[in-house]
Symmetry: C2
Subunit: 461 residues, 2 copies
Amino acid sequence: MDSETRTRTEQVMDIVRARIDRRVLTPGAALPSVRAMAAATGFSKSTVVEAYDRLAADGAIRSRPGAGFFVSAPLAPLTLDRIAPAAEREVDPVWMLRQSLSYGAGAFTPGCGWLPADWMPEAQVRKALRHAARGDAEGTLTGYASRLGSLPLRTLLARRLEDQGLAAAPDQILLTESSTQALDLVSRFLLEPGDTVLVDDPCYFNFLALLRAHRAHVVGIPMTPQGPDTAAFAAALARHRPRFYLTNSANHNPTGATLWAVTAHHILTLAEAHDLVVIEDDIFADFEHSPAPRLATFDGLDRVIRIGSFSKSVTAAMRCGHIAARPDWIEALADLRVATAMSGNPLSAGLVHAVLTDGGFRRHIEGVRTRLARARAATIARLRRHGIEPWLEPTGGPFVWGRLPDGRDAAKVARAALTEGIVLAPGNVFSASGIWGDYMRFNVAMSDDDRLSAFFARALR
Amino acid sequence: MDSETRTRTEQVMDIVRARIDRRVLTPGAALPSVRAMAAATGFSKSTVVEAYDRLAADGAIRSRPGAGFFVSAPLAPLTLDRIAPAAEREVDPVWMLRQSLSYGAGAFTPGCGWLPADWMPEAQVRKALRHAARGDAEGTLTGYASRLGSLPLRTLLARRLEDQGLAAAPDQILLTESSTQALDLVSRFLLEPGDTVLVDDPCYFNFLALLRAHRAHVVGIPMTPQGPDTAAFAAALARHRPRFYLTNSANHNPTGATLWAVTAHHILTLAEAHDLVVIEDDIFADFEHSPAPRLATFDGLDRVIRIGSFSKSVTAAMRCGHIAARPDWIEALADLRVATAMSGNPLSAGLVHAVLTDGGFRRHIEGVRTRLARARAATIARLRRHGIEPWLEPTGGPFVWGRLPDGRDAAKVARAALTEGIVLAPGNVFSASGIWGDYMRFNVAMSDDDRLSAFFARALR
């Protein structure tokens, strides 16, 4: 056997191993016939026979007389990298998540999605902790949560939803650890691997990482300043038969867009016609100046599942999110949650309830809204000085979606920033389509800062 | 069309609808040909044609000229009931979980898996909360956790593992919300739907509910008082090519069995030969009198993944579990965790760390061990008075696995108990095989109680 023959054989072996590795071929699966493999790869049948024989000798595959070859290798563990699309970008949602949670104490993080510590209601959180330490009922500090989670918090949430025009009984609400866990649970409830999900393009980058972990096929709907493009939405519904549409309506992440009533109505009409479930992540509700339309409110929790959390407005250190949905779905979701996470965190629920009902909290949030409005104006002015143009001027929320001058590659700029301890959020991590490569998301609470100007003065020179 | 014909047509329609409902047929999937369906069901081809036409008229399927019929119905949401085995038992793991977390304040719960409130270190938890309320570093009460979770707690866990003879660096440890969430994450990392998992028979009932949610094929290995039956283990490895083996070694739930060194060595040798991953849930480690062998310790975290939590010994109200594993697996698990849950709970981690390092905690746990030993002896004596014989007399932990007299159906007894506000844990919820139908798991911390005797005196009469 000469060296060239060995090389060809090894190429075929590599193809088979890669298919096993990527789970295209799973244990017990039949390999293509020698003839089919030869046709597909362009190698000769004798090369394929040689490759199959050697893989069988290695134990990676085995032959069943008369039936062909079958995969015997143990499965390779699933990693997000492995299930990523073929044309993986280096600066991707997983990269963004790693940066967001791994930065050191000295890092400057205008690309992150949360408010700085001194914008958070720390005084109310401390007060809630002192209150919890005194406690009253035995076992509340050491026992499991009830199945749906704290009734006082669910009752309070139901009242807050009613204030938004959404009637939901407390038993239509399931407490979770976070809105991410809420979305994960709902995805588990609704998705099979390979199902299509519609998202906004751009959208919150962790939506893409989470849906990738569920092996969903993600289709982006271009955003407009009034919400998703309804013509593209209608076309995607007809073409892809998606399982659900995932969005955040108010203070859209990352664009800051606000859903218009006409868009909400159109989206829901299309959803009804195609029996589509809609998941609305309302995580920035507390940062809104005047209430914008919500899909959940228009729909009344018939086909819309509303998720949210208090990580942005109360505390991210005490995980507490929620799902509001049809009662039968909440029942099924509660079973799934118990099976996969046992119980919620009753301490976190109690602390969040204490903060929300503290008289100081309403004043605090009003102060945050005013502060955000000022910071937003200052950030936009500062970005414009560097030639960075906002896609729109948001009416609420923490984000500005800005376009770098001269079609600069935001991923390259973000990578350069990271070498200086600055975490930025480049457009491509928010988009499955990759059409937002010259955009960045700025957190206005951290972006009106001379360090950012100094960096851009050099980087965009 | 006469009525009999209509009935046959509807039977075929029901078969198709059930397949869609159970996701045997997913949207876009081709239906069997008319000929194949007729052959498979025994109905005539004209009946099948009629059924397909009517399903198409209903919109459940659609025809593509020249290509046959395809499913068009939206997917039915996934529920644990729907993915349950065909011969579903009414009193199943999901039933048990619902009872466990839904009982009212007045319920008596000798079937539950946790210790009563007055056995928990509430004083230390209160102290930890007061300490947290004072806080020192800005943002620790409102910010996200780092990617792997609190370094002080991971360092402490690494030291505790080292005390057990298991060398693990802090970056080999990922904090989670609970050992259930830890197992869920690992299952997500390793499993594809349809993969086989080995469990002990009997095993902790939530293992079965969780694996069902992952659509794993579960194979039970009969337990012996020295650990799993190694001959059955070897046979299952050869026959099923399982993806992993899931067990808890010390104070086995529900039997109270202790793993012997000879069994541990044999299991690991077999696991190595078959490249099998082992997941060891060490949740009852704190309740052990003298340390029993652990698979993780014998293996040194090569193919064993160790999971655990402090829900049983510190508090279940502040969710805090962990995974110890190979560094590359921890990296991948951390990515998956961020994508599906964003961040851990830094407050819970800080509180658990404070309790564990409190001088009073060691004394508290020693007291719990002594109290458990006394309660165990008293429970066994009490059960024997009712003809309930323990499978073995455990050397540690909270459980006794007892056999009802005269082959009584434990599920029936548990259902009768529930009408009196008593939550019991019948054997069938712990077993995929259903061979433990006359057993019950008793929590010794709640079972030396006259209410239990009064119930059994009537129920076992």
